[in-house]
């Protein structure tokens, strides 16, 4: 399983400014990886290109051993005509009911399954949305700020559960949380500020798994490395 970009360039139609400029990187094997950087550097644009959006770009994106790539973002909504539980059941593929129940429990959503999507808090809305994607068949799932508005403790629980339950899948996690990315991600593609013309760097994260032991020194080093990169 490998995701590789070579000399990737992308400019939105009608614009003169390139959003992605000569980007090359490679991510190998399953794992929880991240795209990190300030707003507006092209993380979402890259995510959409990887998810086989129709936009035209220069350079190469190579997906090796990846059939299904899904992209989810934090503004997504579920239809409002029935309960979130009802919708979740409808989109759960046969045989995955147990996984659904487990995820609902881990994501702490058991009590809100009877509610309409609009009645949930923003954090709950993002969690229920993420569950329905995790229940689908995929090889690579891109999570674009999918855990925004979720408290830190629960976010950690969720990320660790995802790593545990989907160890054979690749994830690309877009987040602005430096600590979170440093702790849980294996490979972190850091986007430098375009104004400083720094380019992108691949940095290794701590990739903590369930019941991890925090090595503060190593974590600080990773965080420092990321900070220096952008």
């Amino acid at each position: 399983m490998q995701l590789e970009c070579k000399h990737l360039n992308f400019t939105y139609p009608g614009s003169d400014v390139a959003v992605i400029n000569n980007l090359s990187f490679s991510m190998k094997n399953p794992g929880f990886n991240a795209l990190f950087g300030p707003s507006g550097v092209g993380k979402t644009s890259l995510a959409k290109l990887i998810a086989r959006g129709n936009a035209r770009y220069d350079g190469d994106i190579m997906w090796d051993d990846m059939e299904t790539i899904l992209y989810t973002y934090n503004l997504e909504r579920l239809p409002g005509w029935s309960s979130t539980g009802g919708h979740l059941s409808k989109v759960t593929p046969p045989g995955k009911e147990g996984l659904k129940e487990h995820l609902v429990q881990v994501f702490e959503l058991t009590d809100v399954l009877g509610s309409r999507f609009s009645q949930l808090s923003m954090g709950q809305q993002n969690r229920i949305n993420l569950i329905r994607y995790l229940l689908q068949e995929f090889d690579l799932l891109i999570l674009d700020e999918s855990l925004a508005n979720v408290d830190e403790k629960l976010r950690e629980t969720i990320i660790l559960a995802i790593k545990d339950l989907f160890a054979d899948k690749m994830f690309l996690y877009i987040s602005h949380n430096l600590m979170e990315v440093s702790k849980f991600c294996r490979q972190i593609l850091v986007f430098g500020k375009p104004s400083e013309n720094k380019g992108c760097f691949m940095i290794s994260g701590q990739d903590y798994q369930n019941k991890y032991h925090l090595d503060k020194k190593k974590l600080d080093l990773t965080m420092l490395e990321i900070m220096n990169a952008f």
């Binding site: 503004l75 997504e76 239809p79 005509w81 989109v91 609009s118 009645q119 808090s121 809305q125």
Partner: protein, 255 residues
């Protein structure tokens, strides 16, 4: 909602009558040109029952005509929502048909179909269909990306689901347009009856016009106004019920 509609109409009607009476008083006009209150009341006593049934007759055609136009607008709107060749063909055809003033087409309809129930129904539907179509096309052609994205990327999207999502997300707009189109359907039916029919309040207005009887026309307008207000009020209330039942709200805002 219902009562608000009725008293709003009554205010408008009373202002209108007041305006006419003021003109009558200032220019010292006879009852032939603008009837006085006693004549209007006397005429109401004579024609009220008859006009009530006439308006109900018109309303029955209106309701049916509106129903047909809603079905037509949704069919064309759904078929024409895609930016494909067939979609644009349907849209252009629908627009072109509407470009002909219905009053010009009406005589052809009456010559072909006579002056019975069907032509009234057709004209009512045709008059109220186009504004509905524009709204439906606008709604159906605009993706609700935040909801549709999941279904598209997971290969679950079907046209029925797409229509359901877009209709649901624009339910307020749709119910307002449908309630508003009731007036157009009523106007359409009355125009049809006025041009050629042997029943309905439009037909009675035409007879009153033959006789230059403005008092009768004022009673007819009153009846039309009241009945259409009630009908619109019912439609709006129904719209509210549907919205509450479907629990329409957006982005965390609970109704």
């Amino acid at each position: 909602m219902l009562f608000r509609r009725i008293y709003q109409f009554l205010i408008v009607y009373i202002i209108g009558i007041g305006f006419l009476l003021a003109i009558k008083a200032v220019l010292s006009l006879s009852d032939y040109v603008i009837p006085g209150i006693p004549l209007v009341i006397e005429t109401a006593g004579q024609v009220f029952t008859g006009y009530f049934f006439d308006v109900m007759n018109t309303l029955s055609v209106t309701v049916l005509g509106q129903g047909i136009s809603i079905i037509m607008a949704f069919t064309v709107g759904i078929a024409g929502r895609k930016s494909s060749w067939i979609g644009s063909f349907i849209k252009v055809t629908a627009y072109n048909i509407q470009a002909y003033p219905i009053v010009a087409l009406a005589p052809i309809i009456f010559i072909l179909l006579g002056d019975g129930f069907i032509p009234r129904l057709m004209i009512a539907s045709m008059i109220c269909y186009f504004p509905l179509l524009l709204s439906v096309l606008g709604i159906m052609a605009t993706p609700v990306t935040d909801i549709e994205h999941f279904y598209i990327v997971t290969g679950r999207m079907r046209w029925q689901l797409e229509v359901k999502i877009r209709a649901f997300e624009n339910l307020s707009k749709l119910t307002t347009v449908i309630a508003g189109s009731a007036t157009l359907a009523m106007a359409g039916t009355i125009v049809a009856e006025f041009i050629a029919a042997n029943a309905g309040i439009g037909y009675s207005i035409r007879i009153a016009l033959y006789q230059s009887d403005l008092a009768k026309i004022l009673i007819a307008l009153f009846m039309i106004g009241i009945i259409i207000s009630i009908y619109q009020g019912i439609l709006e209330t129904l719209g509210e019920v549907i919205k509450v039942k479907w629990s329409i709200s957006k982005k965390g805002e609970v109704l």
